[in-house]
């Protein structure tokens, strides 16, 4: 049961990155970090009652989305989904992410929610999380004594839990520069268009002619965190994409996932359509070239 009123908390409004990580060093787990707030505030209306809420609002310079052909895409901690959509390079070079962002929640939420917040929420259903997982990338975590990078492959530990330590602030996401022959696509299933996904999938392919040199598949809503479909990827890597091979991929997916029954769908259904959705994403990625 939620409340119309937020619980009592102390608001921290650091004016710099240094101040923010200093606060994290002092209070650690007692702080809930808030960027857009679209997840944090809802959770606080229901169950969470943090002692401190630290808003990133006053920290300058974290709202960037910058593309560089050599270095890739850098997304700052305060960049919203809408900020991402405002960058034409995202659509051009990271179509899976762009599409995931375009249908992400609602316009109001896209204007507020941040890309990094979606990753930090560590929900298995996050649309941008799914796309980013397929594309690959690393998070930059900062604390008082320095920075470290965590590969997206190592970031989600379990439902709602990430590799971020309580004294660290996630300040940036870096996506790799687009490889030659790279294609990506994102697909999802929902009950209605504004719904959270009941199943989502993103694929990132590197193609040489009709042969797939490299493949990363990410699927959401089928495990406690977004999931890489590594066995299925292996079936495709180094091979030519044919109808027969796609049929084998469709067969392979259900053995890699462990979906559950929940409010949005059933385990049985997710298993049945998971392969189909992957196949369609691959087809879309290939046809978009």
């Amino acid at each position: 049961m939620s409340s119309r009123i937020l619980p009592d908390f102390d608001l921290l409004l650091p004016k710099s990155l240094a101040e923010a990580v200093e606060l994290l060093a002092t209070h650690g787990q007692r702080i809930t970090v808030m960027a857009g707030g679209t997840d944090v505030l809802v959770a606080m209306k229901f169950t969470q009652s943090p002692e401190y809420v630290m808003s990133l609002d006053g920290i300058p310079g974290l709202g960037y989305v910058v593309f560089d052909a050599a270095k890739g895409l850098r997304i700052g901690a305060k960049a919203t989904i809408a900020d991402l959509l405002a960058q034409p390079e995202v659509k051009q070079h990271y179509p899976a992410l762009w599409h995931a962002a375009e249908i992400f929640a609602t316009g109001q939420v896209r204007n507020t929610a941040t890309v990094l917040g979606n990753l930090l929420r560590a929900s298995p259903a996050g649309d941008c999380s799914c796309a980013i997982y397929a594309i690959g990338g690393k998070l930059i975590l900062q604390r008082t004594d320095g920075r470290r990078e965590v590969d997206i492959d190592d970031f989600w530990l379990s439902y709602g839990v990430t590799a971020r330590e309580p004294d660290e602030l996630a300040i940036e996401l870096v996506l790799p520069p687009p490889a030659i022959g790279a294609r990506s696509a994102f697909k999802r299933m929902t009950r209605t268009n504004d719904d959270l996904s009941k199943l989502n999938v993103a694929v990132q392919l590197e193609m040489l002619g009709n042969t797939c040199v490299e493949a990363r598949f990410a699927m959401g809503c089928v495990a406690p965190t977004p999931l890489r479909l590594r066995n299925t990827e292996a079936l495709l890597k180094g091979r030519e994409i044919t109808a027969e091979l796609l049929a084998r991929l469709v067969e392979s997916v259900p053995s890699e996932i462990s979906p559950i029954d929940d409010k949005r769908s059933t385990a049985e259904y997710r298993r049945q359509v998971s392969g189909v959705l992957l196949k369609r994403a691959i087809e879309e990625a290939c046809s978009a070239a």
Partner: protein, 171 residues
């Protein structure tokens, strides 16, 4: 901190306020300032009844802490009308019979303003996509979509349309 001294520029007027940090922008508008045109519909950012513009971006005011809004420019549905004279969006909602119970209407109108500011000539698909965050249970959205189309057609200074809604917001 538990309280924050902030300044909000709401519908062109400056408000210096002291707000408890756990107050949402919606609560401050409604309960502290008596601006009840912005509605509580769900409290969880799903229905859009509480949509306001913050520096020209449409957001759910139920999911924003007022304490983090210091210095921001905020526009509510009441900010579009001047002493009973409706603006072109409100007039279009009237003309197209797009208002029934009216509870979603202020949020719809604000959202429409933000859409038309960015995209003065939206397709029907773009309108429907843009309104996904505003639930209406009365109209089936049919007449609302028509109203947005009409608002786009009747925007003042249609030729310099990109800035039309922004200027209104600023007024």
């Amino acid at each position: 901190m538990k309280d924050a001294a902030i300044t909000l520029h709401i519908n062109g007027e400056e408000h210096k306020l002291n707000v408890a940090v756990n107050r949402t922008l919606l609560e401050v508008l409604r309960d502290q300032l008596g601006m009840t045109e912005t509605k509580y519909g769900c409290g969880t950012g799903e229905c859009g009844a509480c949509t306001v513009l913050v520096d020209d971006r449409a957001i759910n005011s139920c999911l924003a802490l007022a304490a983090t809004m210091d210095g921001k420019r905020i526009t509510t549905a009441a900010g579009f009308a001047h002493f009973g004279e409706l603006n072109h969006i409100q007039q279009a909602f009237n003309d197209e019979a797009a208002i029934q119970c009216g509870y979603c209407t202020p949020g719809m109108i604000v959202k429409t303003a933000s859409l038309l500011a960015k995209n003065p000539d939206p397709t029907e698909h773009e309108i429907r996509h843009a309104l996904e965050g505003n639930i209406c249970r009365c109209t089936g959205y049919e007449k609302i979509v028509k109203a947005v189309q009409k608002a786009a057609r009747t925007a003042p200074g249609r030729t310099v349309k990109a800035d039309a809604a922004c200027q209104e917001v600023a007024q």
